[in-house]
């Protein structure tokens, strides 16, 4: 078997396994919403796909570096989209964090800001 074929086999199987696990986990029947929410003072940020976005951006930048042509810093077709995704992801993340922080402030203490040491994002 050629390297490329081995490669397709490994990478393809890996992706299928990951996708399969994600599918299985997210389609598990969830219990009815009978569980109480967190006790007062405990704040969990909602799930977010931003970590995935940033990771994909970083991976694209990395791939651009690896697949650079001669005399290039990086392959622009990979690195530039990667950079854009990464930067947008950061901006989005900061804005989401700000928004959640304001909600926590408003919900917990009204107009009084909580101390700076609550769990961060």
């Amino acid at each position: 078997m050629t390297d490329t074929a081995i490669g397709f086999l490994i990478v393809g199987t890996g992706m299928l396994v990951v996708l399969g696990v994600v599918f299985a986990v997210s389609s598990r029947p969830r219990p009815a919403k009978t569980r109480p929410g967190p006790p007062q003072g405990v704040h969990l940020p909602p799930p977010s796909f931003l970590p995935v976005v940033l990771s994909i951006g970083a991976a694209l930048i990395g791939a651009g570096l690896a697949f650079r042509g001669e005399d290039q810093l990086a392959n622009p077709f990979l690195a530039i989209p990667g950079l854009v995704i990464f930067v947008l992801g950061i901006v989005w993340w900061v804005r989401a964090a700000n928004r959640e922080w304001s909600e926590v402030e408003a919900g917990d203490h009204g107009s009084h800001a909580p101390p700076d040491d609550q769990p961060a994002h």
């Binding site: 006790p39 007062q40 909580p114 700076d116 040491d117 769990p119």
Partner: protein
């Protein structure tokens, strides 16, 4: 399993779980740890510098023939960055007093000085006459200063975010941990530059 749990139990079981609301704020702890890892990263780069210098021999350790380092420019850049640490700290002290206006002013000045530093660095690169592929001196020089510059850029991004949030009135005297965190990152970047400058330009 209910015996011995905390005594006061509201009807629905929603009971406040007390947290450690004391000591250093959590984001500051995170930033300090992150800085510790960055110290080790630069440590690795410094190791390459010193190893290369020792291999080549300190007497043979210089830029490729026909070129030389621009010490005066580097000294000016050092002064700019040190000044920016002061202006950053002025901003921190301002917001600790609740003065958002001064915070914005000092943050903007710090950011400007940082951009000035980076521009000066790029100008220096363009004038030097040797590149990363010109022998081991060139390689370690550009790697060390280049990654430091990248960290300055990262700090500049942080400062920009601070400026944007300050403009939206999100900071107050008892709610500005992001300012504190970015400020110690900026001081770290300054300290690393002093180490870089001393090693490359003063030690030689």
């Amino acid at each position: 399993m209910t015996a011995g749990t905390l005594p006061a139990q509201p009807a629905e079981g929603h009971e406040p779980i007390p947290t450690h609301a004391t000591g250093m704020p959590t984001p500051m702890v995170g930033m300090l740890l992150f800085i510790a890892s960055e110290v080790m990263f630069f440590g690795g780069l410094f190791a390459t510098y010193f190893n290369a210098r020792a291999s080549v021999g300190p007497d043979n350790w210089h830029p490729p023939s026909g070129t030389e380092l621009d010490l005066p420019l580097a000294a000016v850049l050092t002064a700019i960055l040190v000044a920016s640490s002061f202006t950053m700290q002025f901003g921190v002290w301002a917001i600790r007093r609740g003065d958002t206006g001064k915070l914005k002013l000092w943050t903007a000045i710090t950011l400007g000085l940082g951009i000035l530093f980076l521009s000066g660095q790029l100008y220096d690169y363009s004038e030097l006459g040797f590149g990363i592929s010109d022998g081991v001196f060139g390689t370690v020089f550009y790697t060390l200063t280049g990654f430091h510059g990248a960290h300055v850029f990262g700090g500049a991004v942080g400062l920009t975010i601070l400026l944007a949030r300050a403009t939206r009135g999100q900071f107050s005297a008892h709610n500005h941990v992001a300012v504190e965190a970015v400020s110690i990152y900026w001081h770290f970047v300054d300290v690393v530059w002093i180490a870089v400058f001393s090693t490359i330009y003063l030690l030689g």
